[in-house]
Point group: C2
Amino acid sequence: MDQRISLITLGVADLRRARTFYEDGLGWRPVDSPEGVVFYQLPGMAFALFGRDDLAEDARLNIDGSFSGITLACNQRSEADVDRVLEQAEAAGARILKPAERVFWGGYSGYFADLDGHVWEVAFNPGWTLAEDGTLTVG
Amino acid sequence: MDQRISLITLGVADLRRARTFYEDGLGWRPVDSPEGVVFYQLPGMAFALFGRDDLAEDARLNIDGSFSGITLACNQRSEADVDRVLEQAEAAGARILKPAERVFWGGYSGYFADLDGHVWEVAFNPGWTLAEDGTLTVG
């Protein structure tokens, strides 16, 4: 798995309240806000706020369990790379939470938990730009 | 608070085991490993593995509470900027976990929890390079 983080997603109880904190409170500016999620462009990567229950469901996690409420994503350049990285992680002892599948936003994505339960999404997103140097641009 | 993440730190139960997963399993290469912590350079930012108890103590968090085991850091260009950002976050409703103070690694750092309990460190680290565009290089 390439040494990069493409997206950090924070699960939040109330998306509007969380947006108010990051936008009005801290001065951040969103770059995209499709239904139920808000994306912010950071240097070289993306940051998202997403309903905590929706995020847990997306990663096939039990919301009442040990889910930290945060997911990290390592985006890939193809569906085949997503499959390969998930196999690599599983071979290293990770627990596959969700095998890769085509997803509603037009990409291909799966999730694993590392040995401490930290949740990684491995995704191919044809709508975002992954540069040669591993930096990601939303859109 | 500038729209960037400088460092993501994962709290882990066993640092050696976690290193084996990320390094031997996924192929990541550390850039620095002072006592009890390991840093990895990612595009534009840093990633760290750190003992979960040590991380909780550093952020003044109760390990048996709702701590997610992950902290995000937004590095600043001066101690004054750290103070200013912590004040801004508190004014926006954040809970200050640790007021900024000089720390053993030579910098100046404080922590806040956002409205959902996600933990941010706000730090000035004179040993790391924070470029004009907000990207961070370890060392």
